[in-house]
Point group: C2
């Protein structure tokens, strides 16, 4: 679970599309129905549903259907996982730079 590269594939892939990032952005301000997500987007409802399926498969969004309306929510745990992967790599790099700096300062 800590190293599930397939899940990271899906998450980063999901975030790579501006329409999907728009949907995530909208959802970060609160839950929304499929139609509400579709409203600002210049594409068919079908296309929006397909994007939503990508987001849901990635784990970034969770949805629940009540009656005829599907309500969508962000899943912050998944966002945190993506964030974490990037953060680890950046920190590794920065720690390395620090050690290099120390080394250069010492040998000066």
């Amino acid at each position: 679970m800590l190293h599930d590269t397939a899940q990271l594939d899906l998450m980063f892939q999901a975030l790579a599309d501006p329409a999907r990032r728009g949907m995530v952005e909208r959802l970060s301000r609160g839950p929304a129905s499929v139609s509400q997500l579709a409203e600002p987007l210049a594409m068919s409802l079908s296309a929006v549903v397909q994007h939503l399926n990508v987001l849901e498969a990635s784990g970034l969004v969770r949805t629940e259907k009540v009656g005829r309306v599907r309500t969508c929510q962000i899943e912050p745990k998944a966002l945190r996982a993506a964030e974490h992967w990037i953060n680890e790599r950046r920190l590794a790099w920065e720690r390395r730079l620090d050690r290099l700096g120390d080394f250069l300062a010492e040998t000066e």
Copy 2:
């Protein structure tokens, strides 16, 4: 520059591939040549160069050729930009949940 969605597209797209994430992971431990990046990967050198071009176009990796060897480095600023986008959305969601919690506590 603060809201360059095209650049985010490129970065998340770049991170969506396990081979490319492997390369970033390798580079997070220090600079490497193209051949060194290719070594653990089960694909042709040509394919690796193509992945590298994707990483470079995304801004995540910077390369410099000296003699016949191209040396690759992580660009932490770009990593930070991707991290930041995710973080903002997650925080927006969590702040919203907090306000909701406060509201429910008050009206209880």
